[in-house]
Symmetry: C2
Subunit: 703 residues, 2 copies
């Protein structure tokens, strides 16, 4: 294996590396960026200029001079019509107005007869987004000739949700601990906070929920709000607004009141005053994210009120200040339902039309919980009068933590491209999310962050791609997962086509491989108890809808959860066009087969194999993929610095051993029901089922 | 304020920055290091060569060529007589033998008529230590002419104790979380682990206890020992051996036995087998550190056995493999003693002579618990038949966490220089520690680490100096705290004398200032409950010897703990020469006055002030020092890169506000006993005592 002699890279710079371009790119790009003209002292403009200075300086191998006005060819001109007379002179106002408050143009133009490249927007933040886009073009080696780019986000609120606790542990966090160093705040704000905001701005993320949805009221105390304000001040120039999770019982827990009943006037007054206090400290505070009346969290149902009553209480508090409330539909109450997949729909559809205008209902991509594969959530399209926002999970709670290479761009795309048929064919989840399907001005998308104190932010070098892909899709969901992966690879590792093509294949195949070695054919929720690391198909103790057997329903006849009319009938929550596709066993897409059907072990699959044989082959092919990925990666050694190369190499080795563990544990377990031998070519598990069951991992992170 | 334009430095490189020398140093040093001759492929020699290549390349602004044999003037020659024929030809064997297994020489010599600088040792690790020493000479700007240095450590075991839990929290850790990424171990070992070992080796630390003294038996399971072994493999080339804390109840908790009684043959066999298992995985495993029968930890006393019985049990297990046991004397049992300061002495002195030869008794610098100032521990010199090792605390549990600039070199020096009079005058704690006083071959010194996942390792840029100073003093306790601070500053920040002199004053004064604003005049244990952050002189609930009132004994007559014959008589645990110095109120050093005496409020101090007025002045002068430190630091801006400059600047601001908090809370509280007004010049507290008492900080790190 030939190692590279590239300088070591610890991954901290993410996709913003700005390593010098090589020829012939270097000379041609240098000619287009001989000087930068970018007046203005507003903080966001300064941030954009600093980024261009840093980026151009790095990519072009030396400082790019700053000019006052355009006076020579090859100038990069940036600004708004207000901040830059040169930009104003180009007469872009009408174009810019159409692009709204965050959009930008990047355009080749002539000014005083000189060829210039213009980065312009109506707003400062638009200019910043344009600057990052221009640098992305440079880094990916895109042509800069005759540029005429216009870009504006399709979704208004593009957020990261941090499940960060105030003690700096991170629920389901696998990249170290919380970035927020509460003890030193507000007195000291680490420079990393600015880099966090830069990274988000570079991909268009414009908000961050700092705290765990399993919320703690303490963050709403004055002392902690001052810490939050220090972060908000740091993020502000980058257009990243701060949000918090609201603990529904806060009026009681903070000692003010004896009830948190949304119908109580004192409760309403308490939240209104709390909102005023927050906005005095953080004038652009984004609003609240709330998980209520679910998994033990307090909520309006404790007082006999509905989710809408709860959401509206908070919406009325922040509304006067321009804030919003994101109310999570991930609810399940103390009674165990016949099918957990149905509960959110049952609870929320009747409430459609009763939420305030500044409320979004936040819905996970699928009806269970961020499994390797789920069908889209039936609430998408089912609440036409309510803005419904999509929630993805970047942190790989169910996809191998930070040790498995799993590119989620394809998962996001699969969900966003799903057709709900809510207003006929083409009613995609994406158009529910961007508000266009039902004409909502307010729209949002969020992802549970995979970011922590690890030097490379995400624990796995490739996990950075999931943060990146989410941001890019949140900005424009018409981008394709493969194109995004390509641009991420080019910026993060190498533009060399031999590298990009091979690494791209790994990324694009990786999620399906993970589905195969964990939960193929529509299986779901097979993970170990509590910490969710590794397989636990045998889990049958505790709350039934937290067990594995509740979801896989293996018995001697077969495998899978019958959600058709003969079972829980969760299918009826989908439009008939969708339901019809899945209702018949013979018709149902095989990747969701066991999600919707209890299937006999001898059922003949499209491959010609029986279900049991197919299950074995799927598990095994997932393992084989990781083995193949390891050799592909080894071949890529010449393109990657040794630090990241060795890290990915080690992690792929861990991934392979854990894929084997998943395969062997799950097949050993399901075999006790199928009572069939392993088909030829499938290796027998190395250990007895009892040994897999006895594995009792300690101190698994993220809980 | 003029900021520097030095490149940003995040502190990760610690004192191993190797920034290019400036003239005239550059040319003169370059002439002495034109080529490096350093054969050998043993891992430690490779580590030493890599370090010289890195260090010389950085300091001299470009790669230094590697030669096979000395053939020109200005060659740096490194190795052992075995690894290098050129070294062998110099006839150093006799000298090197005297320097033992870790010592080295750095010497100007002539070989084949060419001037060379030789780094030589009898062992590979000696060469590595010599290489680091040579680089230190270069970095600090020391002369390299006519070098004739010989160096060998005075203490054999020089250890960091990490109070790291297996969930990666760190007890009393203020620099983020545990460096050990257990989940990814052994499959992936972060490059940071090597840098950790490098940093330790650079200052001569040769062992690390990975786990908290409040121990967890899980680390002794096979799965976890494999993780430990991966760390040991990484540290080994740097001479850093791995140790673990042993949970005394492990045989029971890991499910093997029903008792952990050291007298039980099955227990002895269990530990012997466990030791064999460990040494199979880690052939150079250092041994166990044990906290037993103290603060709720299980121990031999649960079975009616003595500390010696417990220590010998483990010593017999690791002894055959060359391992040692460090048995902590920090014990206090369930009954509350009349004076906690006396307990360790009372328990351990009778056991002197009953420990196995491979047991060290580990004693904290003072008899209470790492307070800003304590007298030396009375056990030093009181167990002549037992090797007694010293334990310091680098992590600033009681000295302002990682937000206060407090240089501990002076504290270490004060303790090591203390005269126990055990064998007459000059029986220093240092000579107890290095074994020379009572002729022990085995000797040790340990410090509770202040290292975590924070990018700069220690949370505060200046906290790195405490790690550094400990290592340097552990190697040679005759070094002086000021000289160590000087060399640390020169390597870590700047060699400019204007910088070094001013920053040095800050460092040297800082600990006394902290004593002043926290616990002046011998006060101790006044901190807030449980998390130990901020003042809590009013703490009077819970176990009495965990309260503040137990220790300060304030009443209307006066203040302080009477440890003379009229009180607990803890003084009698010291030799008469020491006791006599402190026994009389008028004679006692004022910095320990309230440690040993209950002093009337009107007692006339040496300053001419009453005790009350002096107390007020001391608290206030501590605050004034921090204010002055802030302006001094601001003046140093031109010498420091902006990242570290701003960080220290912010932290000094926090330090000042916390110093004010300590002063105002403590004086408000003590005033309720003294019933005297604040003397002129002492500002009245900003808040009422009740408000200070009501401060209830949440999520303070380190617990």
């Amino acid at each position: 294996m030939k190692l590279s002699d590239l300088p070591e890279d610890d991954g901290y710079r993410l996709w913003l590396r700005y390593e010098p371009l090589s020829e012939p790119l270097f000379s041609s790009r240098r000619a287009l960026a001989r000087e930068l003209v970018f007046p203005g002292e507003a903080p966001t403009l300064v941030a954009a200029r600093d980024e261009l200075v840093r980026g151009l300086g790095g990519l072009l191998g030396g400082p790019v001079p700053l000019g006052e006005t355009v006076h020579r060819a090859g100038t990069v001109l940036a600004g708004t019509p207000d901040s830059s007379p040169d930009v104003r002179s180009l007469g872009l106002e009408a174009d810019l107005r159409e692009l709204g408050s965050e959009g930008f143009v990047v355009r080749s133009a002539r000014l005083r007869n000189e060829a210039v490249t213009v980065i312009a927007a109506r707003t400062d933040i638009g200019v910043l987004y344009g600057a990052f886009h221009f640098l992305r073009l440079l880094q990916t080696g895109a042509s800069l000739d005759a540029l005429d780019l216009r870009s504006a986000p399709r979704i208004r609120r593009r957020l990261l949700d941090h499940w960060d606790n105030l003690d700096r542990t991170v629920e389901r966090g696998y990249a170290g601990f919380s970035l927020w160093d509460w003890q030193k705040l507000p007195g000291y704000v680490s420079p990393r906070m600015r880099d966090y905001a830069r990274a988000n701005a570079s991909i268009g993320i414009n908000g961050t929920v700092l705290t765990n949805v399993n919320a703690n009221a303490v963050v709403l105390t004055r002392e902690w709000l001052e810490k939050v304000a220090a972060l908000a001040d740091t993020f502000r120039p980058y257009g990243v607004r701060v949000y918090l999770t609201a603990r529904f019982n806060a009026p009681v827990e903070l000692g003010a009141l004896s009830t948190a009943d949304p119908d109580d006037a004192r409760v309403r007054a308490w939240w209104a005053e709390k909102a005023r206090e927050i906005y005095r400290l953080i004038p652009d505070f984004g609003g609240f994210l709330v998980k209520a009346s679910s998994e033990g969290q307090p909520g309006p149902q404790s007082f006999g009120r509905s989710h809408a009553d709860g959401a509206n209480l908070l919406a009325d508090a922040v509304g006067p200040h321009g804030g919003i409330v994101m109310w999570r539909a991930f609810v399940y109450a103390s009674e165990v339902p016949t099918d957990r997949a149905k509960q959110a729909y049952d609870e929320f559809v009747p409430l459609d039309g009763t939420f305030r205008e500044n409320v979004l209902v936040q819905v996970k991509n699928g009806p269970i919980d961020f499994q390797p594969r789920e069908p889209f959530h039936p609430l998408f399209g089912a609440m036409p009068k309510t803005p419904v926002m999509t929630e993805f999970q970047l942190t790989q709670e169910y996809l191998g933590f930070a040790t498995h290479l799993v590119y989620l761009g394809t998962l996001f795309e699969e969900c966003l491209d799903s057709d709900t048929y809510a207003r006929g064919p083409g009613s995609l989840v994406a158009s529910v999310t961007d508000g266009s399907l039902h004409g909502h001005a307010l729209s949002g998308i969020a992802a549970v962050a995979n970011i922590g104190t690890d030097r490379n932010w995400c624990g796995h070098p490739f996990a950075q791609a999931n943060w990146y892909a989410f941001g890019r899709l949140a900005w424009d969901h018409r981008l394709r997962a493969d194109a995004i992966a390509r641009e991420w690879l080019a910026q993060t590792f190498s533009r060399d086509p031999s590298f990009v093509e091979q690494a791209l294949s790994l990324m694009l195949e990786s999620r399906e491989a993970c589905v195969d070695y964990m939960t193929p054919l529509g299986l779901h929720h097979l993970m170990a108890w509590d910490h969710h690391h590794g397989p636990g198909p045998w889990i049958d103790q505790g709350r039934p809808d937290w067990t594995s057997v509740y979801f896989h329903r293996a018995d001697e006849r077969g495998l899978g959860f019958d959600r058709t009319g003969s079972g829980s009938n969760a299918l009826e929550q989908y439009r008939p066009e969708v339901a019809a596709r899945c209702a018949r066993l013979g018709n149902c897409p095989e990747e969701l087969l066991l999600w919707f059907h209890h299937v006999p072990w001898d059922h003949r699959m499209r491959s010609g194999r029986t279900l049991w044989d197919e299950l074995c082959h799927r598990y095994h092919s997932g393992v084989l993929w990781v083995a193949r990925a390891r050799s592909v990666w080894d071949e890529l050694a010449p393109f990657v610095d040794s630090m990241r190369f060795e890290e990915v190499r080690s992690l792929l080795r861990i991934q392979e051993s854990e894929a084997v563990w998943w395969r062997d544990a799950c097949l050993s377990y399901f075999q006790t029901y199928s009572r069939k031998p392993f088909p030829e070519g499938i290796p027998a598990p190395a250990r007895a089922l009892e040994e897999y069951r006895a594995i009792d991992e300690k101190y698994v992170p993220g809980i």
